[in-house]
Amino acid sequence: MSFEFPLLSLIIWLPIVFGIAVFATGNDTNAQLARWISLIGSTLGFLVAIPLYSGFDITTSSMQFVENYVWFERFNVNYHLGVDGISMPLILLNCLITPIVVVAGWEVIKQRVSQYMGAFLVMSGIVNGVFSSLDAILFYVFWEASLIPMFLIIGIWGGPNRVYAAIKFFLYTLLGSLLMLIAFIYLYKTSEGSFSIEDYHKLSIPLTPQIFLFIAFLLAFAVKVPMWPVHTWLPDAHVEAPTGGSVVLAAILLKLGGYGFLRFSLPIVPDASLYLADMMIALSLIAVVYIGLIALMQADMKKLIAYSSVAHMGFVTLGFFLMNAYGIEGAMVQMISHGFISGAMFLCVGVLYDRLHSRQIADYGGVVNKMPVFAAFFMLFAMANAGLPGTSGFVGEFMVIMSAVQINFWYAFLAATTLIFGAAYTLWMYKRVVFGAVANSAVEGLQDISKREFILLAILAFFVLWIGIYPFPLVEVMHSTIDHLLIHLSTSKL
């Protein structure tokens, strides 16, 4: 494939154009048409993203598939796109999750179908834009724009407390990102008129401004990840969001925060990152241990998985701020793997919710008697969530723990408790929901998963096992980029 071809633009704009087409189908009389257009659009969106992997050069750390045009010259802002080993896997993850979400909402969403499907397609394009922007303002525009569809998805199709959750989600994220905007403007001034992220990587900044910049970035990304103590929006948003919304939120939107740390915090302000690394590690470990304990106590399945997401994302930030190759690569693998596992877990809960309209663990019991195929899938994902070797959940956590041992034994010790807590809260929930005698007449009437649901879960199961057994193709693409990032980190920019 020739490098002239604007592949990244296509990956960004194709879903958005299809999304607009879906909106245009109008009200629910054309619902079936809206569904099919979204399926075609999201599948095409995934297919056009494949050349990104097949044409990717793993030997270089520089940006690939670069596109650079002037966007508005008044402030020297460019439409500058490109991917490296960090962003490429995340784009593929996003493109894969979108068709899954569309299919997951196929029969479940009956009202305002075109708006629901269209919002997911538009969001998919916007998120691809976030991952591939190399201009700070372009990045910011995509970053903030991704709030709008998610806000509507939670608010329109969510549960009873959806309005509160939607507004909380929006304002929390906006708070962080506005300070990031000021950080960008400050960097624009310091760099004498550039918004290029690659220019920022070369900028030398004194320690005090570095720390302020780090804090501004931290607020933006920590809210998204989310890190303790700014995670409180996540359980609310997850619980109230429709299944598709939860899947995208957990699988994709949380990754934006992690990506931000790698793209901005670590390379632009490495000295501040080093200076504050202990704090970041402490916050991450609190997330891993404390939130793990909170998850144990949840009575609501979605809330439990939401808290488990916070704990798993704690591993990601822990890996980043250990600042060695194992740590960062492990964190990246953890991000991708968490995308599949948490997405799958939410789909599983969605499958149950669609049948019984309850998310309470206490309302279930003995599901295995009525839904054996589903129980098998759910088992696999629960195990992966607990970090069982052979599943993708193990690889990332293991790498991060390995790297933590090199730094400090107690870090590794605390991080490793997640293997116990994770197993405890996931499997205990699994036991209460799936095993035992049939709990009540509602469970008695359950039907096993349909073909549609089977395909969705099978695709996710395939990736969970693939990364668990043979993670090399994933690690390989990140290798040179992360090596380059580490060189960045080890050179002071004061």
Binding site: G26, N27, W71, F72, E73, R74, F75, Q115, I137, Y140, V141, E144, A145, L147, I148, F151, L152, G155, I156, R162, V163, A166, I167, F170, L171, L174, L175, L178, L179, L181, I182, I185, Y186, Y188, K189
Partner: protein, 481 residues
């Protein structure tokens, strides 16, 4: 004595406007049954004619005329073109509303045209007296417009309040101008700058004069703590008039600030910077926090205006052309958003029903998905969320503020705009998440429908391609300084 007639060419559009106001009044008296229609068309033609005249005389040079009392530069031309466009849109939007409520009399058109003339004079003034005449022409027309609905108690009260406080502010302004005159001995804005620069004047008197002038300006901009009139006037006026007050005069006020503070007293920027910082922070704080508590949509938008004016003032604080052009961009973006928002409120009104409360937006997405979408764009733009134009306006101003070294001020500004985001989100929430209270169809005229759609989409399109407008703003400022 030798009388040299002044060069009328730079003021041709004002002269044309004055003639046409008289024509509109006469036509309205003499034309037959469909005279309202004639007056309406004539008004639109007048605005078009002015636009053509301004466009033809467009030049990059600065032309002074009437013995230096009047100036024609690229900033004034660009601002005037914006004013014509805005007034024309106001007329299209408010036509049905006004005629449904029996306010479509000849006065309506002539007062609007007089107000427009006042704005044009303000924008082009280069002398304190011209500036004041323009301002009073605008203000008096606005007082009368607010009171146009004579049978409405609320409107009469609003007009009284507006008039009394407005007269007070004009008094402040005149007093400040007289102090400046006392200190420098001139009323010409360009000479004033030179005298201040040469430091031949008494600094103390000048600063006292400056304080009064800034107070007068703040009143006209409705910046806190001189904002008290705005919520009452916005709420009390018929929505069509609120739309007018909230839109075009902000452009004129921008020109007014440029002429007085920047061109006239730019040398004293160190003195007025501090005042503007206080005004800006207060406006953003009061505007955004008070707006949360409002149930009346017009009142809420009045507070939102106050906060936006605070943001606009931030653009002036950097005291360089970068900041001024950002402020100009901000005011243009603001006018575009205000036009759309009030037009939407009017579209929700029916004969005999006033859309007044924010609850009237409930379930709009179910009643009319397209209008809900347009309102969504407008609200997000007002909240400053990309990719809407409101974001770039905020971005440009913040950039100027940070560039001038006021990072803390930028942080304060974004925190208040975060608070502000809440009440815009509330409208979106009502439209999309709530059930409608009524299923009355929304049936505006086709011209309103087209213009409103264009207005909403412009907010998005100019956000995706902001270069043209940003470049224009910079060009206007750079060629006039």
């Amino acid at each position: 004595m030798n009388f040299i007639p002044p060069d009328f060419a730079p003021a041709s559009s004002e002269i044309f406007m004055l003639i046409m106001v008289c024509v509109v009044m006469l036509a309205d008296l003499t034309a037959g049954n469909n005279r309202r229609h004639v007056a309406y068309l004539l008004t639109q033609i007048t605005l078009l004619g002015c636009a053509l005249l301004t466009f033809i005389s467009f030049s990059t040079e600065v032309n002074h005329t009437f013995h230096g009392m009047y100036v024609d530069d690229s900033m004034s031309d660009i601002l005037k073109l914006m004013v014509y466009g805005t007034v024309s849109a106001v007329l299209i939007y408010s036509h049905t509303y006004v005629s449904d409520r029996g306010m479509l009399r000849g006065e309506f058109f002539s007062l609007i045209l007089f107000a427009t003339l006042g704005m044009m004079v303000m924008i082009s003034a280069s002398h304190f007296l011209t500036l004041y005449i323009g301002l009073e022409l605008l203000s008096l027309s606005l007082y009368a417009l607010v009171a146009l609905r004579r049978d409405s108690q609320l409107a009469t009260e609003a007009a009284m309040k507006f008039f009394v406080l407005g007269a007070l502010a004009s008094g402040f302004l005149l007093y400040g101008m007289s102090m400046v005159y006392g200190a420098t001995g001139t009323l010409h804005i360009s000479q004033l700058a030179q005298i201040i620069q040469s430091e031949a004047s008494s600094r103390e008197v000048l600063v006292v004069g400056l304080v009064f002038i800034v107070a007068g300006i703040s009143f006209k901009l409705s910046a806190a703590p001189f904002h008290m009139w705005a919520p009452d006037v916005y709420q009390g006026s018929p929505t069509a008039i609120t739309l007018f007050i909230g839109s075009a005069p902000k452009l004129a006020a921008f020109g007014f600030v440029m002429r007085l503070l920047i061109e006239g007293m730019g040398e004293m920027s160190a003195d007025w910077q501090g005042m503007l910082v206080i005004l800006a922070v207060l406006s953003m704080a009061i505007g955004n926090i008070a707006a949360i508590a409002q149930e009346n949509i017009k009142r809420m938008l009045a507070y939102s205006t106050i906060s936006h004016m605070g943001f606009l003032l931030l653009g002036f604080i950097s005291a360089d052309s970068n900041g001024y052009s950002s402020a100009l961009f901000y005011v243009i973006a603001y006018v575009l958003m205000t036009l759309g928002t009030f037009a939407m409120i009017m579209a929700l009104c029916r004969n005999g029903f006033e859309a007044e409360n924010i609850s009237d937006f409930k379930g709009l997405s179910k009643r009319n998905a397209w209008y809900a979408f347009i309102t969504l764009l407008l609200m997000l733009s007002l909240a400053g969320i990309p990719p809407m134009i409101g974001f770039y306006a905020k971005f440009a101003v913040l950039q100027a503020v940070v560039n001038a070294g006021f990072v803390w001020l930028a942080v304060v500004a974004v925190i208040f705009s975060l608070i502000g985001a809440f009440y815009y989100l509330r409208i979106i929430k009502l439209m999309y998440f709530d059930e409608p209270e009524t299923d009355e169809p929304i049936l505006p005229n086709s011209d309103v429908k087209i213009l409103l759609s264009a207005n909403g989409l412009a907010v998005l399109a100019l956000g995706i391609f902001p270069q043209a407008l940003m470049g224009l703003s910079l060009y206007a400022i750079q060629n006039s300084m």
